[in-house]
Symmetry: D2
């Protein structure tokens, strides 16, 4: 059975530890953190683990795969060393802090024939998978536009801004659903509380097929929203992740264009049918995701959110940030 | 008592007729529409009215003021003629189809000393006035950003796109609250159902004081939203116009930045206090608005949404449309 | 075409006048109120009407049917005189202030072969009709219980208590859906604001088939609720009349009892399938209702809420009030 | 420091174990379950614990207090033995399966000067405590009525019906808020899925001061509700425990009775002021409750939900069940 080590026991690491301990598809044997206190606490909770204070030591130990939950700026370095030492690697999102680095990891993994997977958990959550099925089956028709809102009060991160923290989720969902990369992108935002670190931002994307998408993210909002609206030519979907029981609502609604006779005007009518909230499994996405990683190691399959996918997400963020609408040289002022 | 005539009995006109009939502050004496059927129907409902099939005839009749509810492209022409014939003029929003024309109307009104008012109804609605009071009193602190969503399925208009139909409401609210005009603006959208007429659009604005605003409008959305979030440094407000009983929620929430000691890191803590939904009057905004127009005629006061205000709204739309982020020459492609 | 007169122009009468004026299936020719002011106001609004200050005069005029919207205590007297003078009669709910009187009206109508209909509007509303279809088709399985909540702040009536004002709606819906009368009933409540007039009450009913129902009504509640839960063995329905877009939600949910093997315990599992909110017509129930009355006059058909139905509703109220759980002689004290 | 043992590791026990492990105010030293599997699992999770397969052995060990989370029918026996062996005792709700037994436990505890506490967790939850403060301060005025709804699909219990499972929560909240016991009570319900075990029930209570209360509980409902409405003469409160952010809403609403002049009619007007959702602490009620038990042991104080309180809750359930409105000898049939 695959032996797995966990690197990084800070904010998110403990959740991964819990899931690695819970699944029966691997042996969770080792963990690592530079902070002895965190390490000690984890070892107390999982007495069977070996603890390491250095990544090098953990990588030298008897493990087949690592799960990386360290600060984003270290993803590249830790993942590269792990791949070079022959491990399969799961990296928390985003894969790296730049797209060249993300692509380099992908190439190393390919060269060494190791599985490299990015932890885009939402791509494994039942509502997101359900919408993917609806899109792929043609039930929604042509995708006209998508609108994402992911806002709440806090939690401010120290290392990255709100785009790299929150928008990365929406972009991963968007790229998974559309299966294509944007041809153009832009952004707009403000650093309200701290200098040089946006806590509210608006992003927008245009895709080759014509679909457009907008994404609003904020750490500075009084109500929590996790709302995505997917508008297709046949059906429309609202995915509200804060709804405890009806996360997905499928609306049989649309506008019908009637061709004009004899040079007359176009006529529009509105179609309003039933709304269906499909029943969704209650399984924890994090568990599904980790077991997908373990399955891919076992079978040699490519993970759904492999290195290539992770690199595309990073590219899309960079594309949106490159065109910062407020930058003077890009601005068309009044 | 002021004698008022109504021009245009199409989609919105009948609502104005009802309110003109209801108020005791004017004599509603005449109406006008090019379509004899509409005219007949209105005269049946208000037997005391005189009916005219031409604007010229109505303007020659014994009235002091006109209310204009004709298609947007005719606003300028009808309002100008009315002003020139010495009437006070109320024009449905937007004031005109271009800012030079809007400003020209303003100048004529000033030269002829007539009241010119734009029908930005929301500026007279109790929740919008309440938020204005909160902003002006300093209760919200510095305004950091505002986020508007005004989406639903339909009603597609034949003459204008979704920006000129729906975003004009949000922009009027925004300019009323902030009391300043944007220094830059942009937009992004798509014509999904018809060619060359956007049915979904995103607009954004930057103001001299640093405040930014975003505005999402759509005729192609499965759920109706009328949601505005106002984030201040002291308090935050959510204004949801679809909520039948609690349209305004004031959150005593924010982020506190603690100055670091000795080159240490900034520390942030989150403040969460009570939420208050103030009681609001139930008065119909359209009635308040029309009575404001009549009061301004009686007293000579300047209407809150006078010609100048209406022209600023048109300018802000134009500024956002001028910078269309998808236009090729402005695009920073991948 | 049927000529119709309206008796009673107080709180509800104007709504009936509007609908009688709107439909093309009758000639709305006369109206009557003891109060000359109200009469005058109605005649101004509908100039073609004849106005009467006495019921006798209206009944002597050239009409085929009357619509009665007078205070409840006068329903019996007015309807009886109208039937005796050969008119078809529509009486606002409840049919009369006692079940013997309600039954007497029914018998007169039968003897004179006139249509007698009670104005239980909800029985004609699209969501209530939809649930009826679900029940009759067997889609819900056996009805296990129903729970009604109809509460809000005000409007206190002068002539009747909250049971006769609000619960009468729920009871009409209940009897329509179940198509049977309760075998027992009881109630419990309090007169909080005025003496001897309940402003909050709980009613409950037991039906021959085993189904039970509970009904909560209040004029003294901070939030408006119009919520009915229908629990069947196969499916469950929530009907929320305050929801602007999804008044009916059908849940494919239930409990499955697994027969025990070899004297073991019963095992239960829970079934959770999709939720469907069917699209419902937007037609005004009051218009549907009045047109049903007019159709029944034209065809001789029995109205869905005929005199017999109206009498059953009054009987059910009386049964619930007869067993007032707080009356001392019925009380099983601690 | 108080040494605590936990008896019963079934459905609820693991939550108590977690909290006993979390608090720093006691030493969690021992646990006990008849099922060796459960015991083993708990010992693996908390390696420092001593495990016992018999209550007797645990009671003989070196502990000062026990927490009892066994099936309800065994509460009396286990708690009695623990008190007789000199331990302080915390018993999960309800205290016992009959009021004489509950009172006997109370007497033993008094005689042996031990703390006896019932695990009515809701009495320690921040929203319930907040409403208690509002009531006691007079902010709500006279309490007119209270309406409780606690419904959802499942979880059917094997040992008790829905009243002993769910209504016990509402009754504990009710008695805590009102600080008095009902003078009369009744109930009504149905056993839909299993024979002789109600899965839906309505209870009602009358209190010496005039206040009435209604309580709806169900294991067979499509939507989860945890809603309590408290109507006072000055203010009204809605407490919705499913709302993640605004569990308590205080409405400044009511009806004002104007005294009639000269034998005229009473006039009523409606008062609608602001709504306030007070900020509430996020502390886990179970932790607050267990720490309250430990504090009472340390100080000798009487717990808020002591044996006497727990016995009153059981008495109120019995009073409501004694008057089962459907029992034939009590029935006033049609």
């Amino acid at each position: 059975m695959t032996k797995v080590g966990l690197i990084g026991l800070g904010y998110w690491g403990p959740n991964l530890a819990r899931v690695l301990n819970q699944t029966t598809r691997c042996e969770f044997t080792a963990c690592c953190d530079l902070d002895p206190q965190r390490l000690k606490k984890t070892l107390r909770q999982y007495p069977g683990l070996k603890g390491f204070e250095s990544v090098e030591d953990l990588l030298s130990s008897d493990i087949d795969a690592v799960v990386v939950a360290t600060p984003i700026s270290t993803h590249f370095d830790v993942a590269r060393r792990a791949l070079h030492s022959g491990k399969h690697v799961f990296v928390e999102k985003p894969l790296a802090d730049s797209s060249p680095r993300a692509r380099e990891l992908t190439e190393i993994a390919q060269a060494r024939d190791r599985r490299l997977m990015t932890g885009h958990t939402f791509v494994y959550s039942p509502p997101v998978v359900k919408v993917k099925e609806l899109i792929d089956s043609g039930a929604l028709g042509d995708l006209q536009y998508l609108s994402f809102s992911r806002v709440n009060l806090g939690l401010y991160r120290k290392d990255v801004d709100v785009v790299w923290d929150l928008a990365v989720h929406d972009i991963s969902i968007l790229l998974y659903w559309l299966d294509e990369s944007p041809i153009s992108a832009g952004s707009f935002g403000r650093s309200c509380v701290q200098s040089f670190k946006r806590d509210v931002a608006y992003l927008w994307f245009q895709f080759p097929g014509g679909t457009i998408a907008s994404c609003e993210v904020s750490w500075l909002s009084p109500q929590k929203m996790r709302r995505t609206c997917v508008v297709g030519s046949k059906r429309m979907v609202v995915y509200d992740d804060t709804d405890p029981s009806e996360k997905i609502k499928i609306y049989d609604r649309g506008v019908i264009v009637h061709q004009p006779e004899n040079f007359g005007e176009f006529q529009l009518t509105y179609r309003t049918g039933d709304m269906v909230a499909p029943n969704l499994a209650n399984t924890e996405p994090l568990l599904i995701e980790i077991e997908h990683f373990l399955d891919c190691i076992a079978t040699g399959e490519t993970p759904r959110t492999d290195g290539r996918f992770g690199a595309k997400v990073v590219s899309a963020i960079e594309m949106a940030e490159k065109f910062d609408w407020q930058r003077e040289d890009q601005l068309v002022a009044a």
